[in-house]
Amino acid sequence: MSTADLAREFLTGHDPATMEPLEFLRARFDAGLAWVQYPPGLGGLGLPRAEQPAVDQVFADAGAPDNNPRRIGIGLGMAAPTILRHGTDEQRRRWLRPLWTGEEVWCQLFSEPGAGSDLAGLATRAVRDGDDWVVDGQKVWTSMAHEARWAILVVRTDPAVPKHQGLTYFVLDMTAPGVEVRPLRQLTGEAEFNEVFLSGVRIPDTDRLGAAGEGWAVAQTTLMNERVSIGGRAVPREGGMIGIVADLWRERPELRSPGLHDALLRLWVDAEAARLTGVRLRQQLAAGQPGPAGSASKLLFARLNQEISALELDLLGEEGLRHDGWTMRRPSIVDFAGRTAGYRYLRAKGNSIEGGTSEILRNIVAERVLGLPQEQRADKDVAWKDLPK
């Protein structure tokens, strides 16, 4: 029986038209049809990940409710694989089901004002106190913190050892006393992100993921999954931002000029090359040849989005001077297509910073793919507390 057949069989006993959406999603999870690559009992069937799209298609065709995956992307893409890999059986059973159904939203508390690219240098402290840990510090760039029930959190538990060795990974209850979330307004005028202040927050030791001092290794699972999920989507030709500008070019002959024509064609070529690179990357993954090309995708799309949106402003001329508003909002997803060229231009500036700056990604490509020697570093083999700050 194929996985698609299993999904159809499930639907014969669970009518999405009459069931409560949440009850339907819970039943789907319990039937192992949430994410088939997960183990039985945890929403899966222990099957290859490649079997999942057929299942999703059956549910989509039946008009079944979904878990709004864009809203719970951090939970699905980052928290869940980390809990699966490093959590205890009890932790997996507690967190994975409501995570997948969307009952509980997750956020990520990694970056700090003083620890961006150098994440392992983070300063938020956790001190053991009986069966709890007491956390003090500040995190930043946290999307969905204002809606999240849980956070994945990395803190420093031992300042007396070199920086990578003194970290521990926790799951934090965002409703605990001492957690304060404030919106962080960005240069677009809106606030997709938050600052999170942690003051004397108590976390039970049972909410630790992995051993104390092993936080860096656990965080690697989270970060690897972040980079896999960025740039992993199939798009048709002109499916990205280049399509917006190409359509504008076609519809508005009066905006055209020879210089802009060449600039547009150069970017069209670059965008199509980037798209085909994504197609090839997915073919490699499907053929079981995981390559390092994933790091390339994010570098590419950051540059392309920035250059294409800048060209759009050049093309629009006077119209580009008008904006659609600077009102502070808290969007839960980034809507590149629905707003002005000016918004796209500004929002794209974040693409080369968020999820690893382009400079850090170049280091990663150079050192891990090309095998070039590391930068000389002042922070190796020195206790974190003795590093210059």
């Binding site: 150069r266 070529v269 199509e272 090359a273 690179t277 197609v279 400079e359 170049r362 150079a366 070039l372």
Partner: protein
């Protein structure tokens, strides 16, 4: 479904071509009287069977596809091998109609041919085909063609005229060697003075157009091979070269440029494979794929060769270091079969982005 990967057979082919070229390519010969290595060409074309890969078995070929030819092109670019593969196994082979008797001779490597058009000729925009500089009257050809690739050693020249496509014995033309920018693919100026020719087809236009789009699609794979050699060679060098008591590859000013180059080459590979696959499957998107491949891969190969020279410092500027052969081949290829600018102009038509 487009397949952008390399299959096992293609990887085996690559390994045997690479091994042959590693043993046999000797670039010191290109300044001598016989720059083209015909012995190597025979081994590659006849013994390894690389000349007839895309030719149907009934025409004496291997019945494989242009995808395999593209893999050979990658390796030839990597080694900048001085063999007439582009002229004979790509351009002339693609120009010949199925069933032509010359096809089997080219496929077996028994003879070689060149397409008598200037090296810079690219696929034409609609209704804007090239005007031929040779004319035919009663099977005799008169006129001149400049800067023809792989013509010096060709047994046969395929000559487009308004009267049709003709096959002319190489010895029946006056062939003047050009001092070529890229010595590893020497060019020739051709003159026909009443040269006898065999009529291959009455309308040269579609056959030449097919040859040019095939050449453009596959030259991208050669550019990819050049770029890969340049990146690998430079990465090895910056790991060993020390200045200020550090490997120069540890400086971000150096490593970030190489990381960016790696990203571009990753893209070039996808684009070149797409062009080769469109050729192999006769995909209607082939004109877009070929122009995309040329517009993208040539600038990447030229940049890779330029970075190779620059990041090798003084040694990269010497004749002794092999970087300059790749720089010259990549730069000449960037003009060959239509420049990136020309191909972007073609794309503007093909994807409806008019000036």
């Amino acid at each position: 479904m487009t397949d952008l990967l390399y299959c096992e057979v293609e990887e085996e082919l690559r390994a045997s071509v690479r091994a042959l070229l590693r043993d046999r390519v000797d670039l010191s010969r290109v300044e001598g009287p016989e720059p083209v290595d015909l012995k190597l060409w025979r081994t590659l074309a006849a013994d390894l069977g690389c000349a007839g890969l895309p030719v149907a078995e009934e025409d004496g070929g291997a019945g494989a596809t242009w995808r395999e030819t593209a893999v050979v092109m990658e390796e030839l670019g990597r080694a900048v091998a001085p063999v007439p593969f582009l002229g004979s196994a790509v351009l002339a082979t693609a120009a010949l109609p199925a069933g032509d008797p010359l096809l089997a001779e080219l496929a077996s490597g028994a003879r070689s041919a060149a397409l008598a058009v200037p090296m810079s000729t690219g696929p034409a925009s609609t209704g804007n085909g090239p005007r031929w500089t040779v004319s035919a009257c009663d099977g005799r050809l008169d006129g001149e063609v400049t800067t023809v690739a792989d013509a010096l050693t060709a047994h046969v020249l395929l000559v487009p005229t308004a009267e049709g496509l003709f096959a002319v014995e190489g010895t029946a033309a006056v062939r003047a060697a050009v001092v070529s920018f890229d010595l590893t693919r020497p060019l020739a100026d051709l003159a026909f003075r009443g040269a006898p020719g065999r009529l291959v087809a009455g309308d040269a236009g579609p056959l030449v157009a097919r040859a040019l789009v095939t050449g453009a699609a596959l030259l991208a794979s050669e550019q990819l091979g050049i770029a890969e050699w340049c990146l690998e060679t430079t990465v090895e060098y910056v790991k060993t070269r020390r200045q200020f008591a550090r490997q120069i590859g540890s400086y971000q000013a150096v490593k970030h440029r190489l990381a960016d180059l790696w990203v571009s080459i990753t893209q070039a590979r996808a684009v070149a494979r797409y062009a080769a696959d469109c050729l192999a499957t006769d995909d209607p998107d082939l004109p877009v794929a070929a122009s995309l491949a040329q517009a993208f891969c040539s600038p990447v190969a030229v940049r890779a060769a330029e970075e190779c020279v620059q990041l090798h410092g003084g040694i990269g500027f010497t004749w002794e270091h092999p970087a300059h052969w790749r720089l010259k081949r990549a730069r000449a290829n960037a003009t060959a079969l239509g420049s990136a600018t020309r191909h972007r102009a073609l794309l503007a038509e093909l994807v409806n982005l008019p000036a």
